[in-house]
Symmetry: C2
DNA sequence: TGAGGGTCATAGGAAAGGGCTATCGAGCCT
DNA sequence: AGGCTCGATAGCCCTTTCCTATGACCCTCA
């Protein structure tokens, strides 16, 4: 049974004439006759009564033709769906973003994309690098925004921007009065960090590699905003990325102090699988990020 | 786009592996690859992302595969419908019967068929010979039970039975006391007939061809039962076929008198289009009629 | 009644589509 | 670097499908 055969029997049913049906289907009458007969034999049912008075649908034929119409309709919809899906800027883009970037990038990014690529909504997964890596490789995500270094076989990355880290301390803390601070000056005992698993935690520890041991338990917050609150409450000091310290995030209780050179930074990139089929979607995403008003250095 | 191609992409989507999908579809991997590629080109959409990490469905691919599944489902139903329609004794039989036969044949016929061919319900059209002829030739009916002579190009008839005509008169009418009557004895002025268009009217007039002119207006009834009532009311005499005069139709007010030889008769037949695709259904119908307990002579 | 026209089926050969085997090439892994 | 996995490509073959020509049948009309 083929879609062509189904088209043929629908045409015969509608024209009640093999010749006219053949014409409509742009084939010769013998071809159409043979196809119809072939289908009748495969189905084991006589679909049409061929009489000198004309062609009539049999009882079974009527039901089968009706079902054939439904089938052809669904088949047509395959093409319709394909047409709609042809535009790479159309259709959901499944994007992963790590916890320490998402809250500070997403609001502006979503707004920008809604303007530049209105038919490409984002399906955002906020998670840790390890989980996003797994999901990207498993095909559950099309792209991931995370901190470098990141890569591996089959993965392509596009650097987006580099952002500086800044120290944050309670307004009344001695540090708060300084204009800048060297990483070595930070007191490991006071430092508040994200839990294990967050790459930002490792980056901070890396930058301040003078800290021989991680801070004791109780000196952790589950998100950068939690850390900020903890600092505001005077529980200690911490380090945040610049994007978490824009005007919209300021608090009178927390002062941020820039690091003296060499200032620790992190590089943020967009990662995707090599050979991803919608490069245009990625380019749009990269372009949108680069045009955002962020306290970062473009790469 | 072919159903085979749709089957292939569904298999690839489910296995996420061209080789395994090919195995499932009982084709070689290159054949399947080529078909998938072919479909992708026809649709203008990349359905699968082929990476070394595996095969992933694209956004558009997911939608298209879902639609392909629906299409294949509908296609499967074509076969299901065909299976159900394969039995010639299954499915409605559209049967026409003339007005002067239907009321006396149908009740018993329907009962018999419900027993012998329970999956072949009758869709009965009661009408005049002229209308039934048109409907049969137009394919709106599969068979017609009517009085001979009937036929023509493309039409086949099977004689069913022959039934005698009988005169009917009010119980107090002089005729009612006779044991038999010759057609010539009937009084044309008293005779009640069906309206023009009923073949039975013509048959009665034919049999009693001594009547030079049809009876005047007002001496007509729209059905045999109306004629019987009119006779019962003493409005005149009439002629009815034997099947309208069985025990279940007797009335104390109406007497029926048989005709002396040569007794006028009508021959009832089953007509169908030559080449009708369900001869078994017709045979069943003929058999059922012949086994009925009717006051007729089988043919 | 016999010629003509209409309609679907059959026959035979050509073109194309789809299948197979063998092989390639890219990329991963050891 | 070499082996392995996996999808793509190449080249060939065969089945399927299509076309033209013709046949069979039957209705119609002179």
């Amino acid at each position: 049974m083929t879609l062509t055969e189904l088209r043929y029997i629908v045409a015969v049913a509608e024209t009640r004439h093999f010749g006219h049906a053949a014409e409509r289907c742009h084939v010769s009458q013998p071809s159409l006759s043979a196809s119809v007969k072939n289908l009748e034999e495969e189905l084991g049912v006589t679909l049409f009564e061929r009489g000198k008075r004309g062609v009539f649908l049999t009882e079974a034929g009527a039901q089968i033709v009706a079902q054939a119409r439904r089938t052809l309709e669904e088949a047509e919809r395959v093409k319709t769906v394909a047409r709609q899906g042809r535009d790479p800027l159309k259709g959901v883009l499944r994007l992963g973003i790590i916890h320490t970037i998402a809250p500070y990038l997403l609001p502006q990014l979503v707004a920008a994309l809604r303007r530049d690529a209105p038919e490409m909504p984002l399906d955002v997964e906020e998670n840790t690098t390890a989980n996003l890596d797994r999901m990207l490789k498993a095909g559950e995500l099309e792209a991931v925004i995370l901190a470098l270094p990141y890569g591996g076989p089959g993965i392509e990355t596009v650097p987006l921007y580099e952002e500086k880290f800044r120290a944050v301390a309670p307004a009344k803390h001695a540090l708060a009065r300084k204009k800048s601070v060297a990483v070595e000056e930070l007191d490991a005992g006071e430092l508040l960090l994200l839990p294990v698993g967050h790459c930002f935690r490792d980056q901070v520890l890396d930058a301040c590699n003078e800290f021989s041991r991680p801070p004791e338990a109780g000196r952790q917050g589950n998100s950068l905003e939690t850390l900020r609150s903890m600092v505001a409450s005077g529980l200690g000091i911490s380090v945040l990325p610049a994007t978490a310290l824009t005007a919209r995030h300021v608090s009178p209780l927390v002062k941020s102090i820039e690091f003296s050179a060499p200032c620790p930074v992190r590089r943020v990139a967009l990662a995707s699988r090599r050979g991803f089929h919608r490069p245009a979607a990625l380019e749009k995403l990269v372009g949108a990020v680069r045009e955002l008003d962020l306290p970062v250095t473009a790469l």
